[in-house]
Amino acid sequence: MSLFDKFSTFLEESEPLLSIKPDIFGTKIEKLYSSTEASIDGRRVLLAGTNNYLGLTFAPECIAAAHKAIDDEGTGTTGSRMANGNYDGHRALERELAEFYDCATGIVFSTGYQANLGTISGLVGSGDVLLIDAHCHASIYDGCKLSGAEVIRFRHNDVADLDKRLNRLGDRAQSTLIVVEGIYSMLGDTAPLGEITKCKQKYGSYLLIDEAHSLGVLGDTGQGLVEVAGVGNAVDFITGTFSKSLGSIGGYCVSNHQQLDVIRYLSRPYIFTASPSPSNIASARAALVLLKNGNALREQLWEHANKLYSHLLGLDLDLGPEPGPVIAAQLDTTEEALRIWSSLIEKGIYVNLIFPPASPKNKPLIRISVSAAHTEEQINFICNTFSEIM
């Protein structure tokens, strides 16, 4: 039996999807015109599947900061945070993120994926328990696996189920880390954070929230769901990414537990990788300033999100339970999902297409992400195009 036998089975089963052009799982962006327009397959398309919620990838302040960092510090750090890759900018961004959340300390990681992987596996170990929402992102599942702790799922956004499982743990609930997300990436719904916080306090557990999709999107200053729910101090750890609203790449964890800093010596995803490049750090720092003062952007984003959500709901699409910058339609069949995705591309709109097991309820998803940088005309174009093809 060859090492590659499993690939043959995979390729055989996936052939109908892999043969579609343009490539669903590796769509080539040939040229970018702006944060909302690009060329795909020789065609100018509107980007509506990018996570670029505030549209900051082309913000002049971020581009200028990245250019200066390259001029001053070069293209890469060529080393780990623990060795030669720990620059002034990394430390400054950690302080700025901690201040932004009014937390005691913060750590920057090389990607958002590694922020979850490194934080979870650094904090939790053998003998501890991880209690995670069933809809958590793969980075959380992978962090759990790497931790060596006991991993238990609870039903998505079901606080009664969470309570029941904490109760079953008895005294072990006190060495349990609960993990939830601000906005869930698949259906775009938010966690019932107030109730979850009460539940974790009842049992003396710890709580980590991943604000990857909610940073910059929710709250008066864009902190995320913690700000809207007003529970910042009761949440033990907040993770997030620079690769969505901040338009860069990297990730973070902030906390009021000063002990978080100890994971710098224990967390393999923090230690055994090169640190983020100076330009990534510089653009993320510039973007964080824009994000904090980005109420006008957030208003624009929510106006677009509400309009598109209600329009798609009117077309009888099976959407997630609440409007938001992630708008996902669940389809009954792969064929229907493919038809919609291909029709949208033909008409000049790029969205995400996601299949089970990555999508919940064993159904394929068409996922649209809205940006503050979209114009009213572009949102109207998405609405009208959906009306035409449904």
């Binding site: 069933a134 006991e150 238990i152 064993n362």
Partner: protein
């Protein structure tokens, strides 16, 4: 505390409900292969079974579960540790 026979009966009932076709279930039935379930569907089904016995099955233990009998053993062990 349930006997292994009771657990087998209840687990088989849950599996039958989620099966698309009428399949015979024995202790040796391979859960994922026989029911063509992907890993997420197996985990969702597990939540129903957990409620039946008031236990939480850690994902780590599921890595070794292949057959219905493997799952019965895991639940029996967790129940006896309560």
């Amino acid at each position: 505390m349930h006997s292994k026979e009771d657990i087998l009966l209840k687990v088989s009932e849950q599996l039958k409900q989620s099966a698309e076709a009428d399949v015979e279930i024995t202790a040796e039935t391979n859960i994922a292969e026989q029911f063509a379930l992907d890993s997420v569907k197996v985990l969702d089904l597990l939540m129903e079974i957990e409620d039946d016995f008031d236990v939480s099955v850690p994902l780590n233990l599921m890595a070794d579960v292949q057959t219905v009998n493997d799952l019965v053993e895991v639940i029996y062990k967790l129940e006896s540790e309560k």
